[in-house]
């Protein structure tokens, strides 16, 4: 992505995310009272974070690829099941992935 586009992403993301925060503090509560909207909104983070795990761990461009990243992701999963704190999860994934990457 070009430098201009990277700046665009940064500025647009910041502006939109800040606007959303402002909306919450300034808009009357009843505007958001729709139960359907709240139910969907509660599921959005789970859906998007799940997609991001897949997109970052299993995808290159538009192809599903099994490589060293999946080994790292498996290590992260084991760490999470063992209730490891966040930094341990990330480091376990990085170390495992790097090892597999260099062994190949």
């Amino acid at each position: 992505m070009s430098a201009t586009l990277l700046w665009t992403v940064l500025i647009a993301t910041s502006a939109l995310c800040f606007s959303l925060k402002l909306v919450g503090h300034y808009v009357p509560e009843r505007w958001f009272a729709l139960p359907r909207l709240q139910r969907i909104n509660a599921l959005i983070p789970i859906a998007l974070l799940s997609a991001l795990v897949v997109a970052q761990g299993l995808v290159l461009k538009t192809h599903v690829v099994i490589d060293h990243r999946l080994a790292g992701l498996a290590a992260a999963l084991v760490a999470l099941i063992l209730k490891a704190p966040f930094p341990v999860v990330v480091v376990a994934a990085a170390v495992t992935s790097a090892l597999v990457y260099h062994l190949h």
């Binding site: 992403v9 647009a12 995310c17 997109a55």
Partner: protein
């Protein structure tokens, strides 16, 4: 002003320090995606909502177009609007302080604040401001460290950085999977994202997965 409730201060600081350190992962992910150290730091100062920041740089890293990156971040940012609706009547601030309160309205500040409700509204306010301000401080400092560190490391694959990013997403997702239903939503989303990947331009499957949330949240369970 009354002395700060000690338990509230302890809750606020322990949460802030823990999530603040996630900033290292963000700084590293951002640099690995092609953003500069300055841009990574501006993300944390201006956007200041972790999941949205991770999503924006994640979509860029996976080759998505700018619009997809911004849309993913904005969709994740909508929950902060709902937090604001809950927090605004409790904080009762006006003018500049209200704008600052809005910027500090994130998962952690809202979570700690609402957990203080049994201790009274003053504890709620202390919890919100203290958590918001200290997460802001730690998040930004650790973003800078992560960005500089990743810059020094070079090729992301050499140090496993390319696996650290999806692992960070998994780490953000994990605590949200509180019921079998929510685990089902996550599993469905992953399968959906994989299934549409060959058919859509890079980055778009992430946005498209919001459809899973719409479909599964449409009807009351």
């Amino acid at each position: 002003m009354a002395p700060l409730p000690r338990n509230t201060v302890r809750d606020a600081l322990s949460v802030s320090l823990t999530v603040g350190t996630y900033g290292v992962a963000f700084g590293a992910a951002s640099v690995a995606a092609g953003f500069s150290v300055l841009q990574s730091c501006l993300f944390s100062l201006l956007t200041f909502t972790g999941a949205s920041q991770f999503a924006a740089v994640g979509v860029v890293a996976s080759g998505g177009v700018a619009l997809s990156a911004v849309a993913a971040a904005a969709m994740l940012g909508t929950r902060n609007a709902l937090y604001g609706i809950t927090m605004s009547p409790l904080l009762r601030v006006r003018g500049v302080r209200r704008v600052v309160a809005a910027q500090l309205t994130i998962d952690e500040s809202t979570g700690v604040a609402l957990s203080q409700l049994p201790r009274g509204v003053e504890a709620v306010r202390v919890g919100f401001w203290l958590t918001g301000a200290s997460v802001f401080l730690f998040w930004n400092v650790f973003t800078l460290l992560g960005a500089i560190g990743a810059k020094a490391l070079g090729n992301p694959a050499t140090w496993g950085l390319d696996a650290a990013v999806p692992a960070a997403f998994l780490g953000l997702l994990w605590p949200r999977l509180e019921s079998n239903y929510l685990r089902g939503v996550a599993a469905t989303s992953m399968v959906f994202a994989i299934a549409v990947t060959p058919w859509l331009p890079a980055g778009l499957p992430i946005i498209a997965t919001a459809l899973v949330a719409v479909a599964m949240g449409w009807r009351e369970r």
